[in-house]
């Protein structure tokens, strides 16, 4: 059940090689008691935690190297610029982009998607269509609705099945001469479904339709190669991959970025300004108005270094094993209904227990030290599709282990005893 379709052997003897004890030692936040119980942090799809290496990098930057970037001739400005641009190169390498000119720092995935909607969408008209799927996060729905309101373009929604899988043929059938963009989640935050983007993108390519992939939930779980995917845009957030909040990335193919108008105006995105005419800066700075989140980028770079030392392949294999273990343990409980049972899934288990409200589950679990997310997960159309107000969602990271899952299962047993 991983990206390559291999089902890992979950027996103890063949557990993937990843030193979970050592890794857990890198995350200070994990070593605390919540309501008298050890913390089992299973809300990683909402936000991951940071290793000491990331915290140290941010502290070091502010203690030794901080100044504004791309501006001064003094030593600190030079150091800050080197560190900031160094982080951009780390991002480029991490997702295998051709050039750093294709790496735009944003506030996060939401900001990256809004950038594309605002800039690429500026010449959309009432004759145009934008295609998304039924399982999108609100951040990959609402920017397109705003664009449709502004331009008169139509939003088309590709359907899903009861397992929470994209109906690819229906999706392809919705692509037409009118389609200006396909925007789709790589991994669903509410269901864990891995969408078949490697099949969808070539089909869109045949029709000359650009594809934006919302990678927020995919980037922490598997190696991403934007050239192999051949996507036109790939958006993701630092805080879901052990980096700081408030920073994210828009990868955009140069051919698109260079013909897109600026998103926001301000300092750093210009070459020269006069009241008669302003010349915009080159890529990617044209899309980075104002003083950027320098420390955030440096923290993200440190997170990438950290993930690289473990290896995304090891992380994917370890998490696939843990997902199999967790899915099996949770499924054995009475009254469990899994929401999202796609054949291809990444680290998310969404479920309901009989008619116990997810928020009651969340409160009981919190008393056992277990942090999960409850509610609609910013994917209300998904909840409506399954006819439920929300779900309980446990989401995994490579620093989780089987004890976390066992603690979750014990907490669920207590909730079932209380509410039945």
């Amino acid at each position: 059940m991983n990206a390559t379709g291999q089902i890992p052997d979950s027996s103890n003897s063949a557990r993937p090689a990843l030193d979970n004890d050592r890794i857990r030692g890198d995350f200070p936040i994990l070593h605390q008691s919540i309501n008298g119980c050890p913390l089992a942090y299973l809300d990683n799809a909402a936000s991951s935690q940071r290793p000491r290496q990331v915290l140290d990098a941010i502290q070091h930057y502010y203690c030794h190297d901080h100044s504004n970037v791309h501006r001064g001739v003094h030593t600190l400005s030079h150091r800050a610029t080197e560190a900031y641009e160094g982080a951009r190169e780390k991002v480029r390498k991490f997702i295998n982009a051709r050039s750093v000119t294709e790496i735009v720092f944003t506030r996060g995935t939401t900001d990256a998607i809004n950038l594309v909607a605002d800039s690429l969408g500026r010449d959309f008209s009432a004759d145009d269509e934008i295609l998304i799927s039924h399982m999108e996060h609100h951040s990959n729905i609402v920017p397109w609705q705003l664009l449709c309101e502004k331009t008169g373009a139509q939003l088309k929604v590709a359907p899903i099945n009861r397992q929470g899988e994209l109906l690819l043929d229906d999706c392809l059938a919705l692509m037409s001469d009118k389609t200006r963009l396909v925007a789709i989640a790589h991994v669903s935050n509410a269901l864990g479904t891995i969408n078949p983007v490697e099949r969808l993108i070539p089909a869109a390519r045949d029709r000359n339709i650009p594809v934006l992939v919302d990678g927020a939930q995919a980037i922490p779980h598997q190696a991403i190669d934007v050239q192999a995917l051949d996507c036109d845009f790939y958006a993701f957030s630092s805080h879901k991959m052990c980096g700081p909040t408030g920073i994210g990335v828009l990868y955009g193919k140069q051919q698109w970025l260079e013909r897109m108008p600026p998103y926001q105006g301000g300092g750093d995105m210009i070459l020269s300004v006069s009241f008669e005419q302003t010349l915009y800066n080159e890529l990617p700075y044209r899309f980075e108005a104002g003083t950027p989140n320098i420390a955030g980028a440096i923290g993200l770079g440190a997170a990438i270094d950290y993930l690289d030392t473990i290896g995304m392949a090891s992380i994917a294999a370890y998490e696939a094993d843990l997902l199999t273990y967790a899915t099996s343990a949770i499924s054995e409980l009475p009254g469990i209904r899994l929401i999202g049972t796609a054949a291809e899934k990444a680290g998310v288990i969404s479920f309901n227990v009989d008619d116990i409200h997810p928020h009651d589950l969340g409160t009981v679990l919190d008393h056992q030290g277990v942090a999960i997310r409850t509610g609609h997960h910013c994917a209300m159309p998904v909840m409506e599709f399954f006819g439920i107000p929300g779900t309980a969602r446990a989401s995994l990271a490579f620093y989780n282990n089987r004890q976390d899952i066992d603690q979750l299962v014990e907490g669920l047993k207590l909730a079932i005893r209380m509410f039945q």
Partner: protein, 152 residues
């Protein structure tokens, strides 16, 4: 929340009983007043129906979906205000809402009867809105507010 608060302070026996088998649950035909309440974050949705005899609440019911806390709060609310004057019900509702909203104030449980069991929710800031929703919806019905109320 400190460790001495146990789950049983929140989910007291009477709270669980009311949530499992809510009283006065269902649509009230020929209702004189009704209002809808919605808590978008939780997905909780409920409708409160009132039948009047002059200015008195002859009958009250509610229907909808919600967590144990909001269902129990709604169920207890219907028992608490049935037969009372609208003005009394409204002032009691405001009193209860005020009590939930002030975690530091002493929970005036003595005169609340069964409703006192809901007091544990004050230790759970994220859950107070669940307990408050039915009461706000009742107030909306009494003031004949057409629009959906929300605790967000």
């Amino acid at each position: 929340m400190d460790d001495k608060h146990t789950l049983m302070d929140l989910y007291r026996r009477s709270v669980l009983q009311h949530s499992r088998t809510p009283h006065n649950f269902g649509r009230l035909d020929a209702a004189d007043l009704k209002a809808e309440g919605h808590n978008p974050l939780c997905g909780d949705k409920l409708t409160v129906y009132l039948r009047l005899d002059g200015n008195d609440i002859l009958d009250i019911s509610f229907e909808g979906v919600g967590c144990a806390i909001s269902l129990a709060s709604a169920s207890m609310m219907t028992e608490a205000v049935k037969g009372k004057a609208l003005s009394t019900a409204q002032s009691e509702a405001n009193d209860i809402i005020g009590n939930f909203a002030r975690p530091d104030a002493r929970w005036n449980g003595d005169r609340l009867g069964e409703l006192a069991a809901l007091g544990g929710v004050r230790e759970y800031p994220s859950r107070i809105k669940c307990a408050v929703l039915p009461w706000k919806t009742l107030c909306a019905a009494i003031s004949k507010t057409e629009q959906t109320v929300s605790t967000e």
